[in-house]
């Protein structure tokens, strides 16, 4: 049962921030509401005030400029999935979206809402980490930037202080000879990830050496994480199957998975060991083609 609340529909970011400042802890932000409404129906979240930012058109956009592509926080998953710019520049992001929940959820749910929900099994965050994205957070006293990999703090907790709102996601232009991929392991195709892996590989000019690599993992820690030690195994080297295997083993040591009804802790570790090499190899193949 959903408790009664008061509903505000600010038309601008400024209005929204003012409302947040006014109601503080007693209010929650809703946009697509695909996650929040489930919690409210269970009676687990019962805010007195709801600030509905779905109607803030200034936050819904996909812009391509010299710093990269900028996605407004209230842009729906579906808009990201279908965007020509994103398909061209970051195909991995569009591919990830096609596997995120269902069409209905993607039509109404937003990428910003997903990132702010802080679900360690969410799909966009690992991909955004692999793409080295930055978030712009707006507050009463102006805006600040934060790398997406630092944004999630704990299970369902993100680095948003009272009165702050996520405004924008910026993805830097991909360096030449870069390939990125994402996969999630699950039992049912459209389901949340049991383990997810995003990888991005950048090759040096001509020599086939791995100049840069970013590996992000989902559902194996309280937040999506970047497997930095595993990256180190590969960075600056010519990637071989043996190195990939090692990277997988190392990545597993960086996780702290839990056992739940879908998979045991040990199995999640094994999945990381199997999927990190596989996905990195795929990213490498894409980088070679790029």
């Amino acid at each position: 049962m959903i408790n009664d609340f008061e509903h505000f529909t600010p038309k601008t970011l400024k209005e929204a921030l003012a409302l947040l400042a006014k109601y503080g802890d007693d209010c929650k932000v809703i946009c697509g509401g695909q996650s929040l409404l489930i919690l409210m129906r269970q009676g687990l979240v019962s805010p007195k005030y709801i600030v509905d930012i779905k109607g803030i058109s200034e936050l819904s956009y996909i812009k391509d400029d010299k710093d990269g592509v900028k996605i407004g926080a209230t842009t729906t998953h579906r808009a990201v999935e279908k965007s020509a710019v994103i398909k061209k520049k970051y195909p991995v992001l569009a591919e990830m979206e096609t596997r995120l929940a269902s069409v209905q959820t993607r039509n109404w749910g937003t990428i910003g809402g997903n990132v702010c929900h802080g679900d360690p099994a969410g799909d966009p965050v690992p991909v955004l980490i692999a793409l080295n994205a930055t978030l712009t957070v707006a507050g009463a006293r102006g805006t600040r930037s934060i790398p997406v990999e630092n944004f999630s703090l704990d299970y369902f907790e993100v680095d948003l202080k009272d009165g702050e709102l996520l405004a924008e996601i910026t993805i830097p232009p991909p360096p030449p000879r870069t390939g990125a991929v994402y996969t999630k392991f699950n039992i049912i195709e459209s389901d949340l990830a049991t383990v997810s892996v995003a990888a991005s590989v950048t090759l040096g000019a001509g020599d086939g050496v791995c100049q840069d690599v970013r590996i992000a993992l989902g559902a194996v820690a309280p937040t999506a994480i970047r497997a930095k030690k595993a990256e180190k195994v590969l960075k600056g080297k010519k990637i071989t199957d043996a190195l990939l295997k090692e990277a997988g083993e190392v990545a597993a040591t960086e996780t702290e998975p839990i056992s739940d009804i879908y998979a045991s802790e040990e199995y999640r570790l094994e999945l990381v060991k199997a999927l990190v090499p596989r996905m990195t190899k795929e990213a490498l193949a894409r980088a070679k083609k790029a």
Binding site: G118, A121, F156, I258, Y262
Partner: protein, 152 residues
């Protein structure tokens, strides 16, 4: 969901026991405990607040010492019911102390946490992770307290 473990520290057993049983030591280790008040020498009542992302749970919490065997064994039962009826939370903690060589004591603990009601059925994924964490934090707090007070 059970958490078990043990640690050793340099302290006399009686002192360890006395500290453990001192009013408020155990309850103050409960993460998120607020305004815990003693009802009698074995029972405390208060509010425990827990937060999992957007979910804030406020529990009316009672902790009772149910088994006492000084200076070796104590069992504490915690029972919390969520304000608003979202469920109940129980925590059973057992601490066993024994002397080991070299003036050290070994503190063995087990903490079994369970959730009943709507809280429990909602999102197994979230709650299990969180409950494990609460249990772990409780033990961590206890160890920190004991070590900082006695293990110097």
């Amino acid at each position: 969901m059970k958490i078990e473990g043990k640690f050793t520290m340099k302290a006399p057993i009686q002192e360890t026991w006395d500290f453990l049983l001192a009013p408020g030591t155990l309850v103050s280790c409960i993460p998120g405990a607020e305004k815990m008040e003693a009802v009698d020498d074995k029972t405390w009542e208060g509010i425990v607040k827990q937060k999992v992302g957007p979910i804030t749970i406020k529990l009316n919490f009672t902790q009772t010492l149910t088994e006492l065997d000084p200076p070796r064994h104590v069992k504490a039962m915690g029972l919390g019911s969520a304000v608003g009826g979202a469920g109940t939370f129980t925590q059973e903690t057992i601490v066993d102390i024994k002397e080991v060589a070299g003036g050290e004591v070994e503190v063995a603990y087990s903490s079994n946490v369970s959730l009943v009601g709507r809280l429990a059925t909602f999102g197994e994924r979230i709650m299990r992770a969180k409950v494990n964490k609460i249990g772990g934090q409780f033990i961590q707090n206890l160890q920190d307290k004991l070590e900082s007070e006695l293990g110097k």
